[in-house]
Amino acid sequence: AQRVTQPEKLLSVFKGAPVELKCNYSYSGSPELFWYVQYSRQRLQLLLRHISRESIKGFTADLNKGETSFHLKKPFAQEEDSAMYYCALSGQGGSGGSNYKLTFGKGTLLTVNP
């Protein structure tokens, strides 16, 4: 069974401070990991995926297979980063549609205070 754990429901930081949103996963094969973000009154949107190794809006995330983690980091938080963040996992392709289903964590609500 695949599982995603986000241990913090709420995270509050001050503007300019570093931020780290934690994500741990459980999966028997080779997972693909994602971070999704939902700003207030907007639809859920992809922030980044580990295979692309991009930095989006200053956020990065590194897949650590040894620790089964995919923590999201940003060195200097901005007020506009306040949002709900979800970590998600799927299988890596292969036959059958079930590898493409995303399993989400319960989310972390990030608040960046001025």
């Binding site: 999704y36 639809r43 392709g93 059958g96 549609g97 289903k101």
Partner: protein, 111 residues
């Protein structure tokens, strides 16, 4: 940009009613998904479909069914709505090499 459109933003239904939630995507994606989003529980997969007329149960299919007669449309059906099905329902689609694109959601209240 891929567009995923959910037909209703808000719905209020009575207990016992049959409820249809519609979702349409315009990018010829093979895969479509229905999730419900609840505070403190995150997103939970109800059903998904990876081809026309194909469907698979997700993690919480009880009380729901789905229909995918055309590639672009994926409907979620609540056979007999109950108050514990009050939630935000999110539809998503993806291709085999794309990430997910989500609709804006339908907030369903069952009274």
């Amino acid at each position: 940009d891929v567009k995923v459109t959910q037909s209703s933003r808000y719905l209020v239904k009575r207990t016992g009613e049959k409820v249809f939630l519609e979702c349409v995507q315009d990018m010829d994606h093979e895969n479509m998904f229905w999730y419900r989003q609840d505070p403190g529980l995150g997103l939970r997969l109800i059903y998904f479909s990876y081809d026309v007329k194909m469907k698979e149960k997700g993690d919480i299919p009880e009380g729901y069914s789905v229909s995918r007669e055309k590639k672009e449309r994926f409907s979620l059906i609540l056979e007999s709505a109950s108050t514990n099905q009050t939630s935000m329902y999110l539809c998503a689609s993806s291709g085999w090499s794309d990430g997910y694109t989500f609709g804006s959601g339908t907030r369903l209240t069952v009274v």
